[in-house]
Symmetry: D3
Subunit: 232 residues, 6 copies
């Protein structure tokens, strides 16, 4: 099975980290193909960045369709362009926010999310409202760090994420924590150890869930909203 | 007051029609500036078209910001890229779906929507869910016509829209009907007469509502999700 | 265009203030007719006051219908008697809570409301639930002042409102603040300056939104719930 | 225990019927005091009638408070003025819609409502949304009869109600039916026999539920929204 | 009228207390039959205990059906096995959580719940979500005591419950408090006096509400989900 | 990886079919251990059957915990006892309804469910409400067949399921269909071919999703509601 794990932004070091995480948790028979955004922002910090990353994402998915890729993970927690991706691709396409919050609600009765910048909080709240899981989400929190701080050793970013998780544990009455940025994927184990609460990374969960859908023979429904684009 | 009414697709005849509708209903002191999508699909029929129309839309809004435009109407019923538009622009930005369903709920207790293609139905349902008005929306219906059929005299498109509205009147127990495509703006009066139910066109409503927000001195909040893009 | 802005309570100084605010923001061609409640409580502080204000409100609207008024603003944040008003009047009728929260959700992803007395908090929460915007409302707050304190210079009421807005800014993670009482209309600009967050006054927003609906040729739907009263 | 069962409209024959139903099902030790609306419409068919009935209703409740009445049933399915009633009265006050739909959800997983006129359908839908039971309500239906037809022998009204219930049984997949008008209270047993589905009348259910609340020593909370009116 | 009040756990002292509370508030003509769980856990502290208590509960209800019992109260705040109980029994069956939160919403606009252990909080939140009253529930709180501490004089449990209610009063902006455990039934009056807020005990409310349903001639609907089990 | 796929009812032929489906779709390295309910009903057709199946299910899960099983699939579409299962087991536990509707919402914008008996419809509707996906579910339908008819060749059950799916396709405007009974697992491919719509079987999806959770190192959170039972 071949799965494309695409980081919609153009920061190669972040893609490397994401792909490494996906590979570490993928099944034995799965090939993970990594990709970065083309003509995309260096990080996705809001709706504008998200919108600007989507055309490149879609171009890569159309190529993936031709390459015989079986499924796609869109590795940005804003789940950019998922509907459009599902139109251009036959196999399952999953965003890491959707995967992570659905997984969280399978192993806990409530969860909090810890993301990077405050401006991403309402974006994620709206996604979770759309996925129907607002009643299971205690709070979406921000560690108040730029996305790319996660790429810089010594920035203190990982400690800030840990501290925000600890605040979630003490204040939110939550049973699990979801990492609200693909760039945190490599921290999952360390954060779990440091905080004592199940910490869920969307990159690995989405990878394994796409495997699951492909393994069941499920493809994106082409009846209705996700049919192939008409004009293209 | 200067309002940009932008049709995110590239079909100039549709833009002309939209702009004419906006001008017809705008206040005396308002200047309507029209624009079509650049490098955009000829029509927006699904998530992919929507996504591909957004970069051009955003480029035009950044220009509008520099030109001193006071407010913006995004004249496509899928409300494409609204969050991103609100980031790059200071004044109010309103999509025609949001404007129309909010107006509908001010003059009726329930409404149905009549759009073009079936594939747009779930897109619109999801928008209405996000706007919190699912409990006021009886049904989103499709007249089963391509968007551009509305541009072709003799295509029978307007009659199909009328007939679908009549079905809504008879089957949905609704009190108003919302036109689910910017390309229907010029049909509003005819449809109202033919069907006997209040028919709401998002283009004119959004234009007047943006006027309203500008007139009250309201601008897009730059605290939080709609702050200026960081990297741009 | 002629718009009736009616303060359902009987306090003339409050009506004057409300009407002045409406006039200040209304379009050039709009005539604002002001009115106070007849046989109404001096202020509306709860369901009882609200109920007692409605018959006078309806009598005035029936008169307005005969006078050829185009639209009506009900200038009390509890949106009293709106359904009944829509039955007796042909043009659009809008309450200031509905107008303000819908406007707030057009320029921000979340808002808090600051009202006068604590007892009004659940009344407003229930309204917002009905309008479908609970997921966009961070919190309804009270400045713990009687409505009429807003009429008394030196009462400290305006400072208390400001302080509560500042608490909203610091504690609620909101992007805009809605003023939860018609009697605060004159404070909007001062509060915006003092607090640095967009402050939304329902009186002016409702006035301009009624203008918008009238300008688009929209009237209250007479099919269904808002049909003329049968026995009257 | 003394319970006031008040019909907010002024039609004495309807009051008699309502009071007889309440007495028939009340506990042995309960005294039912009946009352009609004063200066009220002959029937309540919409928001306007509802609003006009409330001041008389409130006056009667203030008198009831002085008379030592223990609890109140407001016997109109639109639940008019309930919030205001709860402010002026110490004991429990219950509307028949709230009582009936809560009872229905205790003995079934879903119910439909059959009311009189189509214009009441959205009013009742909004009430049920407020009570949080929309997900348990299959459909609100109208038998297309004026309220007072229920007072006229030979009007065919009762047969129309029965036929609408049968339609609910066949089309709605519901497990119980709620009668959506106080004037149907005397038909409950006949309708149950004719239709074979549990038929719930709000008048009797509300009477017994108010008995229940009084019997438990519960009174309307005077902390917050239902505190005594301030100015009165 | 004969009502079975069944404590699903096996602790006889708790059953005695529950039955005494039910008897104290029941109507004159009502006979309360008490029962403890058979082969049941000593207390119900979570889903597992709940599940293990249900077969014994169902066996007792089948016996009750043969004994001509008119209605049943399941006296555990987790409302265990209510759907199954409604299948095997003809008369009304009510859990104390459902009864209490529905009563709370009849006498207040918002309530908080105080339960025993933290692990019961999400269980109760999910129940309230299912009953459609999340928007009326400020918070579900835990007094951090094991259920059986309520049976031990000198354990300090009742004081902890009181203190948690006081925290609800000060922090939650609630108008009533619901006791989240059947074992608190005997504390209702004392807690009301100590805290000054209406305190609602589900045992007594459910008993009186079952009386109400039986008194109205209502039985569990046997059309659909609550039909008799097929294989039994 | 070892996954227990447990059919909570006692019908061995159904277990065999379920286990065969799970094995067919499981990853290469996964061992599927099958189990039937002990002291359980022959089929689960309602709340009572569900409740009676749970103690045996829990006993088997405790054994599984000792045997080092990594994850559990509860193969009944009513998702019986999932909360209790999550308390007694360390690894992920997933019901097939939850798995299937979450998967359906990953590959489509809306789905319908086709189950066996009408009495299961409200049970499933309530589950989907709890999972937050009511807005994505068009309709829960019944093929009007007893569960065990699926075990009898020549019963016509499979044709009835197919016909009901075709009705869903034509009437519901859905994009996918979820099979609402574990006993339909072996029909998935045939039904997909016959109906032309993506057909989702919960057994295989749940198996692969449990693999996914285990593969990511996720276990049931033991903080809060799913902590180990206290008394056991």
């Amino acid at each position: 099975m071949k799965i494309l794990v695409i980081n919609p932004n153009s920061t190669a070091s972040m893609t490397d980290k994401i792909v490494a995480s996906a590979r570490q948790k993928a099944s034995a028979g799965t090939t993970i193909i990594g990709a970065s955004g083309i003509n995309a922002p260096a990080s996705i910090q809001g709706h504008y960045d998200e919108a600007m990353s989507v055309p490149g994402l879609l171009a890569r998915l159309k190529q993936a369709e031709e390459e015989g890729i079986d499924g796609v993970v869109v590795a940005c927690f804003d789940d950019p362009g998922i509907g459009a991706c599902r139109e251009v691709f036959s196999g399952p396409v999953l965003g890491i926010c959707e995967a992570a919050v659905k997984a969280a609600s399978m192993i806990s009765t409530s969860f909090s999310v810890v993301t990077t910048l405050p401006r991403s909080v309402p974006v994620i709240e709206e996604l979770i409202h759309g996925y129907g899981l607002s009643h299971r989400c205690r709070r979406v929190r921000s560690a108040a760090i730029p996305v790319l701080a996660l790429e810089e050793p010594g920035s203190g970013a990982r400690e800030k994420v840990r501290d925000e998780i600890l605040r979630a544990v003490h204040e939110d009455n939550c049973e699990a924590v979801v990492l609200g940025c693909a760039g945190m994927a490599d921290l999952t184990e360390w954060l779990t150890e440091e905080t004592g609460i199940p910490v869920i990374d969307g990159v690995t969960v989405a990878t394994r869930m796409v495997e699951a859908l492909v393994g069941c023979g499920l493809k994106t429904s082409k009846i209705g909203a996700y049919a192939l684009p008409i004009q293209d």
